[in-house]
């Protein structure tokens, strides 16, 4: 081992091994091609293609939604009452038949299906799911069901990526990761926001930052956004009005918005958590009725004067941002959108909750801002600023993606000065939502579907055991490698330990059994130094802050592993053995 020359690599972790020689430095064409087409590099190239195909699919999905809307609801904004009721109801019936008989996997959350592909099905998502999601979600959103195109886009991307990965016969490890890569591409194209998409997939699907996947996720997201912008232009989802924060004291106003948004998130999530299992538990024949009935009710809401709740509603978010509604109407729209989305989603109509979440957030934000302006006219924030912050608030409170929520608002607005209000408001919303509803909505949906996928929120907040939690104090007798066998035997005469640690020069550690030491003495090797004798085993060492699972890699091969200071590799902090590690895990599990 190179341990002596490279003390930083003391633990001998695979990731810390020296970089390999560059491919062009090798002479053999076989080696060169092998290096070029090594799977991780091939995976990166493949990610770009995944992004391109996902981008193209999402562009077509957008076209499909718009065409459905034009042909089902009409091309105007002032719609006839008959169409308002019939279009979502009849489309709901068609969707119900398609979902029950042709595309059963089109129902449900795309985020959870991507997670299931990652953790359960080795990256497998049938292509049929993408086709089903495309058709049914386009019909649903286009006909006015209160759902959004982002989650289906995410799933279409993941499904396409999975199909490509299977075709390329990727290894199981890569196949598992390919669905999130496609998911990021789909979401990025739907949102026209690559950073938010990457963050969301890392935060909610993969759950951890790993260098191995980050590059692929970023490449696919960026390439899909490039494709989307090629066809649909580079305008962001909303026209963002001027954002300003004149006095820091105004942050209190945004804090109020965070509190209101937190409670609204809890109400929305509780509604879904309570109603969805009831709807699922109803007799099978009702599944034909549920989507059309939901459509009918949404149509009635529209007839009663709130057609804004139909569909994704991005155009109305834009209008709310530009002060087109009174604060009272905004508050009503937020409430009605919650009801309409509940109806659509719990009825099993395919579609996402991102757009409705943004809609509710924007309306609620602008309503709170408007109401605050009535009582405190000197507040500088426009209704657009509050709407923008409100979107982040619901994203943090309902979807429980706090990082993504901040970056999404930042990316969509392109204005750094909004970051403080967003962080303040999102923190309030997240804390309230987390306090009142411990399980995030995606985890609730997963459990309702009978799956047990890892909760990203719980993972983020989970305690990590470290080596220092399991290590024992250092033994009194530590031998020096320069000592002769004679003197070492004398030093360890009174020791009860069978295995002795030897500090080697210039660095590193070894161990020797007491029995072997006495054997060497009997063989007349008493004047030899310990380090010169072959039988001394060099052993790896750990640092106190290493995760305890790292220790598991060594404790079965070495009965004692030294734990040394990071500042001085010769300074022994403690020792750890297999028994210590297992006992610590047992205590942790019981605790």
């Amino acid at each position: 081992m190179d341990q002596g020359r490279n003390p930083q690599a003391g633990t001998m972790l695979e990731e810390e091994q020296p970089a390999r020689t560059l491919p062009f430095a090798r002479t053999s064409p076989k080696a060169f091609l092998h290096a070029v087409f090594r799977e991780e590099r091939f995976f990166l190239v493949l990610s770009v293609f995944i992004g391109i195909f996902s981008g193209l699919a999402v562009v077509c999905f957008r076209f499909a939604i718009d065409w459905c809307r034009i042909y089902l609801l009409g091309s105007g904004v002032a719609l006839t009452p008959l169409r308002l009721v019939l279009a979502p109801a009849l489309a709901g019936l068609v969707i119900a038949v398609l979902v029950i008989h042709v595309f059963p996997l089109a129902r449900g959350s795309g985020v959870n299906q991507t997670k299931a592909a990652l953790y359960i099905y080795d990256g497998y998502i049938p292509l049929r799911t993408a086709i089903g999601k495309f058709i049914t979600a386009a019909l649903a959103i286009g006909s006015g069901h209160s759902l959004g195109p982002e989650d289906p886009s995410l799933q279409i991307g993941a499904s396409l990526a999975s199909a490509l990965g299977r075709r390329m016969r990727l290894s199981r490890e890569r196949m598992r990761l390919i669905a999130p890569v496609g998911a990021a591409a789909g979401l990025a194209a739907a949102f026209n926001a690559p950073i938010s998409a990457v963050l969301f997939v890392i935060e909610e699907v993969i759950g951890r930052w790993t260098a191995g996947i980050l590059g692929s996720v970023v490449l696919s997201a960026v390439s899909s956004v490039v494709v989307m912008r090629w066809f649909l232009g580079s305008e962001s989802l909303f026209r963002i009005p001027a954002v300003q924060l004149e006095r820091p004291s105004e942050l209190i106003a945004y804090g109020v918005l965070g509190i209101v948004g937190g409670f609204a998130s809890v109400a929305f999530a509780s509604g879904i958590a309570a109603l969805r299992p009831r709807c699922k538990a109803m007799p099978r024949w009702t599944q034909y009725v549920q989507p059309p009935l939901a459509g009918l009710l949404i149509g009635f809401i529209a007839i009663l004067g709130a057609p804004q709740v139909m569909g994704a509603g991005y155009e109305y978010i834009d209008e709310a941002m530009h002060g087109q509604f009174t604060w009272q109407l905004l508050a009503i729209l937020a409430g009605l959108k919650i009801i309409a989305t509940l109806l659509s989603f719990v009825s099993g109509t395919p579609g996402g909750m991102f757009a409705p979440t943004l809609f509710i957030g924007a309306m609620l934000g602008a309503a709170v801002g408007g109401a605050e302006h009535v009582f405190l006219p000197h507040l500088s924030g426009s209704s657009g600023t509050y709407a923008l912050v409100g979107m982040g608030v619901l994203f943090a409170g309902f979807l429980r993606a706090p990082m993504t929520s901040v970056f999404m608002v930042l990316e969509v607005s392109g204005n750094y000065s909004i970051i403080l209000p967003v962080i303040v408001a999102n923190t309030f919303a997240y804390v309230i939502s987390r306090g009142l509803r411990p399980a995030a909505i995606f985890d609730v949906l997963t459990r309702q579907d009978g799956l047990d996928l890892p909760s990203m929120e719980e993972q983020r907040e989970e305690d990590i055991l470290r080596v220092e939690d399991a290590m024992r104090p250092a033994p009194i007798s530590v031998l020096d490698g320069q000592e002769t066998v004679d003197r070492a035997a004398q030093q360890t005469d009174g020791s009860q330990e069978d295995i002795l640690l030897v500090r080697l020069n210039p660095s590193g550690w070894g161990s020797i059994k007491k029995h072997d030491l006495h054997k060497m003495l009997n063989e007349g090797k008493g004047r030899f130094s310990l380090s010169s004798l072959i039988s001394i085993q060099r052993i790896p060492y750990l640092h106190p802050d290493h995760p305890l699972e790292t220790a598991l890699r060594y404790v079965d091969r070495w009965p004692l592993v030294p734990v040394v200071s990071r500042a001085d590799f010769g300074k022994l902090e403690g020792i750890v053995s297999q028994r210590d590690v297992l006992e610590r895990y047992r205590d942790f599990g019981e605790g």
Binding site: K30, G76, P241, G323
Partner: protein, 390 residues
């Protein structure tokens, strides 16, 4: 089609011992590239159809909106422009027309939001600045209104820069006059007058505005210019008559007002003004080219009129405390009265000056204490003003 190529690759690969690398990944990448290009072309075709439809729908709804806007049917116009914006969200004209329709419905807050957005995109657009100025003026935000009006004056105008700027300045002047900022209005009017062409209507309008800004000399100049273009126009004649009257140039006023009354028999205002002008010219003893005897008769009449006014005013003020100078005036009048005869005036030519001075003092004082004077006294007041300082 790909299999012979693939076989050839495979053969080469086998010979070199590279089978797994040459037969799969490069082929797959090549294939992916081809599929991507084909898909891209297919989506391009779809995209063309999609965008053409969106554009067509946007134009159709916008055209309906424009028709409704022209016919002042604002409610449907708003819906139609909103629909048009669904298909072309950032279209400048659709947004502007929507803002106009919203203004028509008096939803100025909503219109303001669109206009501010348009202003951010094109701060130099004259129409947008003008609409923003109007909204600010309506809301009483004077500074903001003035800023937008000035922006509009120096902005670019799609349908003729000169006309747009002139109209914007005219509107600014009207706004300044409404808020009683006459000095600023006069400055703007002078700038406007300097750039007027040979349009009768423009000169007439500017003349009227000069009158409102109390800049009578400039007003008269504008009316004269408009009369050059239409010498018998009753409005221009009336305006010129009024301006000349306000300037105390009564002979000129007489000429214009006579013309105005002849040109428009229903112009009662000019007729009234003409009557007053005639009286001024008849009752002014200091006008040139009149005989001494006539002058003396005018002075005697004026003295008597002032005496009557003084008496009636004192009678009306019985029981209330008289002004400090009124008893003195009555005394002076009574003291001078015996001398105000044709003989007395001819014997002492300076008496004309002194008598008229007393008359003017009486008229001024009584107009303060007793309010609006009767016709003859009002004329005497005008004559007093005319000869102030002379």
């Amino acid at each position: 089609m790909l299999s012979p190529l693939r076989n050839r690759f495979a053969a080469v690969g086998r010979r070199l011992g590279l089978r797994p690398y040459l037969t799969r990944e490069p082929m797959m990448l090549g294939l992916l590239f081809v599929v991507a290009v084909v898909c891209f072309l297919a989506v391009s075709g779809l995209s063309r159809i999609y965008h053409a439809q969106q554009k067509s729908l946007g134009n159709r709804w916008s055209a309906r909106g424009v028709t409704d806007l022209q016919q002042q049917r604002f409610e449907p116009a708003v819906n139609e422009f909103r629909t048009a914006l669904l298909y072309s969200r950032d279209d400048y004209d659709y947004q502007f027309n929507l803002a106009e329709a919203l203004i028509g419905l008096r939803r100025t807050d909503q219109a303001y939001a669109y206009l501010v957005n348009l202003w951010d995109r094109q701060p130099e657009n004259g129409l947008v600045n003008l609409e923003l100025a109007r909204i600010a003026a309506q809301k009483g935000r004077t500074d903001q209104a003035l800023r937008y009006y000035h922006n509009a004056i120096y902005a670019t105008w799609p349908d003729g820069e000169e006309m747009g700027r002139r109209d914007a300045r005219l509107e600014l002047i009207e706004y300044l006059l409404r808020i009683n900022a006459k000095t600023q209005a006069q400055s703007e009017l002078i700038a406007l007058a300097a750039n007027l062409g040979d349009e009768f209507e423009q000169h007439l309008k500017v003349g009227n505005l000069f009158i409102q800004a109390h800049a009578y000399e400039d007003a008269l100049a504008q009316y004269r210019l408009s009369l050059k273009l239409d010498r018998n126009n009753p409005a221009a004649l009336a305006g010129a008559g009024l301006a000349a009257f306000k300037l105390g140039r009564y002979p000129l006023a007489l000429r214009y007002l006579q013309g105005a009354v002849i040109a428009d028999l229903h112009d009662t205002q000019s007729a009234e003004l003409l009557k007053t002008t005639e009286l001024v010219l008849r009752m002014d003893p200091f006008q040139r080219m009149i005989s001494v005897a006539k002058r003396d008769r005018i002075v005697i009449d004026a003295f008597a009129t002032a005496g009557e006014r003084l008496k009636s005013c004192s009678a009306a003020n019985v029981g209330t405390s008289p002004t400090t100078s009124q008893p003195g005036l009555s005394e002076s009048w009574a003291k001078m009265k015996p001398h105000i005869t044709e003989f007395g005036l001819r014997r002492d030519p300076d008496l004309v000056e002194r008598a008229m001075e007393l008359v003017f003092r009486i008229e001024r004082e009584t107009s303060v204490t007793c309010g609006v004077p009767p016709e003859k006294d009002a004329v005497l007041l005008l004559i007093a003003k005319l000869h102030e300082g002379s």
